[in-house]
């Protein structure tokens, strides 16, 4: 194993993890609400791709419909799980989003199937590529490229457009931004739509990795997003990205260094390391926007 191999692994896994975390933080940053149904947005993207794949349309149609449906599901989450209870406690929203996630999973179970369904992907995903002597699946490079593009796009959106500035303001102080005429509902729906967009992209990349979709497919990305967000600092976008890469580094290192017998416990080791990080920095690695409010 060379260090280049390691670097590529970390970068590609980190890219995926960073995107997962970002999709979660967008909603959390503005609403201070954790969306437990986020994993199910990925599931919706995956199942849409599965359903469309049967129609014989080109792959790109399949991918785009997946992303669109994930965005729709994201906005639906706002209406079903968040708006009815938004003014109540934070706990209420956590539970409703958890309930909504159960709802979606059971819907998939009922209406499609509990068994894994294969999602065909373009041949490029499984091809391998050689760089400086290291052989790596093309999808790793695709993941890195997609992450770079999306992160740049997203950063530009937030920095330079009025909508982006409004979103950052809403994340700091929603009521004040409303007093300036920023429509709160629009901002929130946009946040959910962006979150769904990220989820849709992730479903493509994730299924590229595992090849099939099951009702529980969203659990692992959800967990990754959770942990990356917590170690990165709950309200900071850069923190989410950093957290994603850090987590990828931990996972990859453990993958390479754990003896075979302990490999299946990798998640337990990762979690222990995360706990240690949190012991050292409970607020996460990067401080979020100052707001003076209890997180």
């Amino acid at each position: 194993m060379s260090s280049l191999q390691f670097v590529i692994d970390v970068l590609s896994l980190g890219s995926a993890y960073a995107l997962m975390a970002l999709g979660l933080v967008i909603v959390y940053g503005i609403l201070r609400l954790v969306n437990f149904a986020y994993g199910e947005l990925i599931m919706v993207g995956g199942y849409t791709m599965f359903l469309v794949s049967g129609s014989g349309l080109p792959w790109i149609v399949m991918a785009v419909s997946g992303v669109i449906m994930a965005m729709v599901a994201g906005i639906a989450t706002d209406y079903v799980a968040f708006r009815p209870v938004r003014s109540r406690s934070i706990t209420a929203v956590l539970i409703t989003s958890f309930a909504f996630s159960t709802l979606l999973q059971n819907a998939a179970l009922l209406f499609i199937s509990p068994r894994p369904r294969t999602v065909p992907l373009p041949e490029i995903f499984s091809r391998t590529v050689e760089i400086a002597g290291v052989v790596t699946p093309a999808r790793n490079l695709i993941t890195i490229a997609v992450a770079i593009i999306l992160l740049s796009l997203f950063t530009w959106l937030l920095r330079s457009t009025v909508l982006g500035i409004a979103m950052r303001a809403a994340a700091t102080h929603l009521t004040m931004s409303r007093m300036l005429g920023v429509p709160a509902n629009l901002i929130i729906s946009t946040a959910f739509a962006i979150s769904g967009f990220f989820a849709g992209v992730i479903s493509i990349l994730w299924i590229g990795r595992i090849g099939t979709v099951v009702p529980g497919i969203g659990l692992e990305p959800l967990l990754i997003a959770f942990i990356a967000t917590v170690i990165g600092g709950m309200r900071s976008l850069q923190g989410a990205v950093l957290g994603g890469f850090l987590l990828a580094m931990i996972d990859t290192s453990l993958n390479y260094s754990l003896p075979q017998s302990l490999l299946q416990f990798r998640d337990a080791f990762t979690f222990s390391l995360v706990i240690l990080i949190l012991l050292w920095r409970p607020e996460g690695l990067i401080k979020g926007p100052a707001s003076g409010q209890r997180t």
């Binding site: 009025v162 500035i165 409004a166 950052r168 303001a169 700091t172 102080h173 009521t175 004040m176 931004s177 409303r178 007093m179 300036l180 005429g181 920023v182 429509p183 709160a184 926007p289 100052a290 707001s291």
Partner: protein, 237 residues
């Protein structure tokens, strides 16, 4: 322009504002005075839509706006500056101002012109244009949020305790700014604890105590009221 009738605001069981009636005519500067806890801020926030009205009516330019959302009030031309100031600390000064003109965002040229006008009026803001607003001093932040509110070219400005927490010299500067706005014809409803400053700049004034209006009249009349002292020292919570 603004008519408030019999306003009542409650926080749970607590009646913070009770049957308060206020009028602000076009171009006037009206001050709402009172000690801490008198209900002045609650009145203002209820008008602004940030806090819910229990009962009563609020009319803007004749149209009913009771219980309107903050977004709607902003769209109707009412700009609010809460007492907590609420600069967006991670946004730069320029971004704060740009957001103030959110409702005029299609008129990029006009917005830029206004922004430059404010930069001329307050060179300190120009100096700090690209700094995060959170790094500004209290007085600079107050200037920023008033300028930000004006960026939307509102027909009415609601100002909640602009002098709060500021040193006397800075307070003077802020009130010079307010006078300048008044001279430019902006209608202003000002809430102030600093009675002297509040009356000096006002056309008319109301004094609140324990949620009610106790005294009203022209600024001069109110200033002369002997009860003013007792209202401040003897009265509210």
């Amino acid at each position: 322009m603004l008519e408030v009738d019999d306003l009542e605001v409650r926080y749970g069981a607590v009646r913070a504002v009770r049957s308060v009636s206020i009028k602000v005519a076009n171009g006037e500067l009206v001050t709402l005075l009172g000690a801490n806890g008198a209900g002045k801020s609650s009145t203002l926030m209820a008008i602004a839509g940030a806090v819910s009205t229990f009962s009563g009516r609020v009319r803007l330019g004749g149209a009913k706006v009771t219980g309107a959302t903050p977004e709607r009030m902003a769209r109707l031309g009412v700009a609010t500056v809460p007492e907590t100031r609420n600069v967006f600390p991670d946004l730069t000064v320029a971004e704060n101002l740009r957001l103030g003109a959110f409702l005029r965002r299609r008129d990029a040229a006009g917005v830029a012109a206004d922004r430059d006008a404010f930069f001329d009026w307050f060179p300190i803001l120009a100096e700090r244009a690209d700094q995060p607003a959170g790094t500004l001093s209290g007085g600079e932040q107050q200037m920023l949020v008033i300028a930000r509110a004006m960026m939307s070219r509102p027909r009415m400005l609601l100002l909640d305790e602009p002098s709060l927490g500021l040193a006397p010299l800075v307070v003077d500067e802020i009130f010079r700014m307010i006078e300048g706005l008044k001279a430019a014809g902006v209608t202003i409803l000002l809430v102030e604890q600093n009675a002297r400053k509040g009356l000096a700049v006002a056309d008319r004034a109301y004094v609140m105590r324990l949620g009610r209006i106790e005294v009203e009249g022209s600024a001069r009349e109110v200033a002369a009221t002997a009860e003013l002292q007792s209202l401040y020292l003897g009265g509210a919570a």
